[in-house]
């Protein structure tokens, strides 16, 4: 049995990393906003979903026009990614400005409820627009990168099976990694990133040290939402069919990833996302085998969340989180 599990590892790693990077980038949005406002922005999953729809709409539009279809698919994707990132970035910034900022000093539960409200609102707005224009809220985008590449992992060692990848997997992986590296540089090396960390640690002191806190919070929402929206496009390209409710379960898992890595910690979110993705794919590939057919692949979520619960039992602050000391 062990041999059979080991055989699947190359494929599990590849699929898991691709899914994990999607979780990781969305988790970044949760963790950044939590770090700075201690707000769990449940609308973030819906920003991801909105990004998927905007991206699909743009792709359908561009492949429909002559000059659009003349472009190489990868150039088209990059344009769509950038445009979508900007649009969802401004969407996130707008949501913060209208819905969260007036509640900045309200008890923490109130903005949380607002966030849930926003997420229903976005679901229904997107559904309404999709039904109005397409007649159906389940939308299938143009398939762009469908070639399969076979990796001969069996040539490394005979205990591995060969793994296959769709080209879109590579694109998802590369884009997500580029986004994460860029964010890490932004937060740790630039002045606005530094201001973000300062506001996250002590908002009032930061404002007394000339930092415009509202602007920093706006930028945080912009960056988080832009990344989330761009990931939505990647998701749409990868899986083809989207509906207005994909944001819920994916958002929930990304949030889980953020908690697993230590909420508020950016690198933690990345690691948490990757780990959750790989665990989920591992379960999906091997659960039937490991349990002798009692549990099928559909129990992958149970497996992944069970791991999460175990980690949190022993390390409640998450993998990279710091134990919380109460602020005075």
């Amino acid at each position: 049995m062990l041999n059979e599990v080991i055989q699947t590892i190359p494929q599990v790693l590849i699929d898991g990393l691709a899914l994990g990077t999607v979780y990781a980038v969305i988790a970044l949005g949760y963790t950044m906003v939590y770090g700075i406002l201690e707000l769990i922005n449940f609308a973030h999953g819906e920003i991801f979903m909105t990004g998927a729809f905007i991206g699909t709409a743009l792709l359908i539009f561009m492949t429909g026009t002559g000059w659009g279809s003349a472009l190489p698919a990868i150039v088209m994707l990059i344009i769509v990614l950038i445009v979508t990132a900007f649009l969802t970035g401004f969407l996130g910034m707008g949501i913060e400005r209208l819905a969260y900022r007036p509640l900045r000093n309200a008890p923490r539960l109130i903005p949380l409820i607002t966030a849930i409200g926003i997420s229903f609102l976005l679901q229904d707005i997107v559904r309404f627009i999709a039904e109005l224009t397409k007649g159906n809220y389940i939308v299938t985008g143009p398939s762009l990168f469908t070639e399969q590449v076979l990796i001969k992992t069996s040539s490394i060692s005979s205990i591995f099976n060969d793994a296959s990848i769709k080209t879109s997997f590579i694109i998802v992986l590369v884009t997500a990694v580029v986004m994460m590296v860029a964010l890490d540089i932004f937060v740790n090396r630039t002045r606005w990133g530094m201001a973000m960390r300062a506001v996250a640690q002590d908002r009032e002191t930061a404002s007394l040290m000339t930092v415009n806190v509202n602007k920093v919070i706006s930028i945080t929402f912009f960056v988080g939402s832009a990344l989330g929206g761009a990931t939505g496009v990647l998701f749409a390209v990868q899986y083809g069919t989207i509906d207005p409710y994909i944001g819920f379960i994916l958002g929930l898992k990304a949030f889980t990833a953020a908690v697993l890595g230590g909420i508020g910690n950016i690198r933690g979110a990345m690691i948490g996302g990757l780990l959750l993705g790989v665990l989920e794919m591992f379960a999906s590939a091997n659960l039937t085998l490991l349990t002798g057919g009692v549990f099928g692949a559909e129990y992958k979520d149970v497996f992944a969340f069970a791991i999460l619960i175990i980690v949190l039992l022993f390390k409640p602050e998450g993998l990279l989180g710091k134990p919380v000391t109460e602020k005075v």
Binding site: F186, R197, L208, M209, T210
Partner: protein, 258 residues
């Protein structure tokens, strides 16, 4: 010439009056001390000047320009900087970064520039790193610039707070109990630092302090608050012998028997 003027400043928290009708004028390039027993409203007074609290009534003028009603970051851009009674550094950031945050004002970049990390912005950042280094050298922390702020010793953290406050190029520096928790030697060094800062950076210093030796030695003007009201002001030697001040600190019995 006055640099900061406060007129009839009142702050009420519900039924509690923290400051009542406080007026004072601070001369440019002077060192002024605000003293008073615990709970006299000194920190509230500082919080109003820096924009953390909005006064219930009254006005605050910095170089004859009204600054109450502004957000704290705008007040600090106008040239008022401060340190805290309980040290409030960004503990998880390096010593250098703490000072750089204080210089955030200098960054003119727009959103696009930030995202693209344009060369002009990188140049700006280099220049401010240089300036931050010089400030750290000035307060004697240049050696530990890459250390996390929370790993510094207590006295060093106090000095780092001063360097961070200086980073914003303040005209007026507010020090909230700078000598709290310091031993006599550290207090002596601090006294020298405050005096040298005043000349070096052309500063006006206002400090809240309980260490009367430091207050009497350093300040040119003293304002005494009690129960939120100004009960006396003047030169150190006048304050020392003012019966109202003695009463506020020691109770009325002290005067009758003394």
């Amino acid at each position: 010439m006055s640099i900061l003027e406060v007129r009839n400043l009142t702050k009420k928290f519900g039924g509690l009056t923290a400051n009542q009708d406080v007026s004072m004028t601070v001369e440019k390039n002077s060192i002024t001390a605000v003293i008073g027993p615990n709970g006299a409203g000194k920190t509230t007074f500082f919080n109003m000047i820096t924009g953390v609290y909005q006064p219930t009534s009254g006005i605050i003028l910095l170089e004859n320009e009204k600054i109450n009603g502004l957000q704290p970051h705008d007040v600090s851009k106008k040239g008022i900087s401060r340190t805290f009674q309980n040290i409030r550094l960004f503990n998880e950031m390096s010593v250098l970064e703490n000072v750089l945050v204080g210089m955030h004002i200098n960054l003119k970049a727009g959103l696009l520039g930030i995202l693209l990390n344009l060369p002009a912005i990188r140049k700006e950042e280099k220049a401010s790193e240089m300036k931050a280094y010089n400030l750290l050298e000035y307060v004697g922390l240049a050696d530990s610039l890459n250390e996390k702020a929370c790993n510094l010793s207590y006295g060093a953290q106090r000095r780092l707070e001063i360097a961070r406050a200086l980073a914003a190029n303040p005209k007026v520096l507010l020090l909230d109990e700078p000598a709290a928790g310091m031993n006599p030697k550290e207090t002596k060094n601090l006294t020298q630092l405050i005096q040298s800062m005043k000349h070096e950076f052309n500063l006006t210093v206002i400090l809240i302090e309980h260490d009367m030796k430091l207050v009497m030695e350093i300040s040119e003007h003293i304002v005494v608050l009690d129960h939120g009201e100004k009960i006396a002001e003047g030169k150190p030697e006048n304050i020392r012998n003012n019966p109202k001040v003695v009463e506020a600190y020691l109770g009325s019995g002290a005067i009758q028997t003394g």
